[in-house]
């Protein structure tokens, strides 16, 4: 196994993996357990600035922070960066608002078995978005490196491929075995949006089901905004500390948004609204119809509840609850 001619990916590294800067930032962040309840509107106004780099929790159409993503469009935030770590409906929403100009892409423009987003594809094919290529594991491990406070992690993915060539990873030689490995740089997002099952007012969070990368994203991000299905009493957190996935000091803002993953799936609560997601894909095929659809559903709705109401409200959620439980 030759370790000569170690290669470097030619993609742009959007965020610095400098751990001293990150440590200094996390050190000065207040660790007081204070009441962090706020509103979706205020949280986005306060924590998202044009040009910021965003990480989105969940899995594209599973446990996604829909209300925050809609608010980013409403407030017309621009030139954001984001990590496309299985970005499906979330990528579709941000593409609808043309909110970003750069992307670390592991999975974008698709909605898995549902098909491809015409509008997101148009944007990514336009040449106006700067893209750096990664794999899912590479992005997961980039968040993990940041969460660990180290500037990179070695791994064995992406080697020998164009995915590596257009990434910002580097081949390295293992100091112990001499093997060729891939170094993926720590990723410290400016802001993370994460939707959870339960949180207390201080930001201690419980998540049921798969975590995807949210435990690490919460630790890696400078600011974390949590939307939660339910606010629970602090004593409930203390009763079962083993259930806490995200501790309060990671979190800047907490908003109670029941059904907040809609039209995505919320494990154990409600299944994804496949009819509505199919409507998104269909509307995207005609730019004018799609613009009207976005106006009606996002720009001209006051908040997430108006959107939910437009698309079936509580009756729809009841139906999705039954689908979730195979009734």
């Amino acid at each position: 196994m030759s370790t000569k001619n170690l290669q470097t990916g030619q993609g742009e590294l959007f965020m610095s993996p400098n751990v001293e800067d990150a440590r200094a930032f996390f050190h000065q962040k207040k660790k007081l357990m204070t009441n962090k309840l706020t509103s979706v509107k205020e949280a986005v106004e306060r924590y998202i600035h044009n040009g910021d780099y965003l990480a989105i929790g969940g899995f594209g159409g599973v446990r996604i922070p829909t209300s925050l993503l809609h608010e980013v469009i409403r407030q017309q935030k621009k030139n954001l960066g984001f990590s496309g770590h299985v970005a499906t409906h979330d990528c579709q929403i941000l593409s609808a608002g043309e909110c970003f100009n750069r992307c670390d892409a592991a999975y974008i423009v698709g909605l898995e078995a549902r098909g491809l987003s015409t509008n997101a594809r148009r944007l990514f094919e336009s040449g106006t978005i700067q893209v750096t290529e990664w794999s899912n594991a590479a992005l997961s491990w980039r968040f993990k490196a940041a969460a660990m406070g180290v500037p990179f992690l070695p791994c064995r993915s992406m080697l020998g491929t164009d995915t590596f060539k257009y990434s910002a990873a580097k081949e390295i030689e293992c100091p112990f075995t001499g093997q060729k490995l891939l170094a993926v740089p720590a990723l410290f997002p400016d802001v993370a949006f994460i939707h959870v099952h339960r949180a207390d007012i201080y930001g201690n969070c419980q998540i049921d089901g798969i975590l995807v990368a949210d435990d690490d994203i919460a630790k890696a991000s400078k600011h974390v905004i949590i939307t939660t299905e339910k606010i629970i009493d602090h004593e409930e957190i203390r009763r079962e500390p083993g259930k806490t996935i995200i501790p309060f000091w990671c979190v800047d803002a907490v908003i109670e948004v029941p059904f907040g993953s809609y039209p995505g799936n919320m494990p154990g609560e409600y299944y994804s609204d496949e009819e509505h997601l199919a409507e998104w894909l269909k509307k995207e095929k005609n730019p004018e119809e799609f613009a009207a659809f976005i106006r009606k559903n996002i720009l001209e709705t006051k908040d997430f509840y108006e959107y939910l109401q437009l698309n079936g409200g509580i009756q729809k959620i009841q139906k999705l609850h039954q689908t979730e439980h195979l009734l």
Binding site: V62, A105, A106, F143, R156, T161, T163, A213, Y271, S272
Partner: protein, 251 residues
């Protein structure tokens, strides 16, 4: 499609560990679990471990992927199991495949910065094909998909053939294992790593094999004729695995 799903399922022996995606791979794993391999461990890259799938998931992260499962975890942990050598098989698709099993799911075009068609990218495909022991690909076969050169190597097969895969630093003794198409089943030459016919589906000819690939597929002197799905396999597939015809109804 029923034939492809059935052949794929027969390649998953009892006691194996497989990472699957939605669609055909998932149907194959469910069929295997309901027929010859009740102890097949199914993993999903988003964090689902060993579900007893009640129906086909639409996302590799949705609730179905943890239904009666043994553990729900992070994507990093699933990928770490793969990297640690625990996972026998992964199942992939792609827009293009070449003679060495390299896959493209990123873009069509020659300018990375301005693709003619942008696809999702690697997702977990690159990781799974790098880190699992054996990679299986299920895909329709035609000249547009079986190309001399993929526009973008999203996911590694045997790269440039020969030893190039291990020279690139990928784990030894891993790589493409089988390609299952609507025409036949293919493996890879043990030295050159070129794609090679293993079995021809009933009613298909060697001309079908040749005319539906831009590159030359090796035809050994001896190859088999694929065994058709049994009535039992078809019954399970149609009634239990995919009653709504989401996968098997596809052309």
């Amino acid at each position: 499609m029923e034939l492809m799903v059935t052949i794929a399922s027969r390649n998953l022996e009892d006691g194996a560990v497989v990472v699957v995606g939605t669609g055909v791979p998932c149907a194959a794993a469910m069929l295997a679990q309901m027929t010859q391999s009740p102890n097949l461990t199914i993993l999903f890259e988003a964090g689902g471990i060993a579900p007893l799938l009640p129906s086909m998931p639409i996302s590799v992260g949705d609730s179905r992927t943890t239904y009666k499962g043994l553990k729900s975890t992070s994507m990093a942990e699933i990928m770490e199991f793969c990297q640690a050598g625990i996972v026998d098989y992964c199942f992939l698709g792609g827009a293009q495949i070449d003679q060495y099993g390299n896959l493209n799911s990123t873009m069509i075009g020659t300018d990375y910065n301005k693709p003619i068609t942008r696809f999702p990218g690697s997702g977990g495909a690159n990781d799974l094909a790098s880190l699992c022991w054996k990679t299986m690909v299920v895909t329709p076969q035609n000249q547009k998909r079986f190309v001399k050169k993929v526009d973008f190597v999203t996911t590694p097969g045997y790269l440039q053939g020969g030893n190039s895969r291990t020279e690139a630093g990928l784990p030894v003794n891993t790589g493409p294992y089988k390609v299952i198409t609507d025409i036949g089943v293919y493996g890879y030459h043990p030295e050159t790593r070129q794609m090679m016919l293993l079995s021809l589906h009933p009613g298909k000819t060697l001309d079908d094999v040749k005319n539906n690939a831009e590159f030359e597929i090796l035809i050994p002197e001896k190859y088999e004729i694929t065994e058709e799905p049994t009535d039992f396999e078809l019954k399970i597939l149609r009634e239990k695995v995919d009653p709504n015809g989401l996968v098997i109804g596809r052309k």
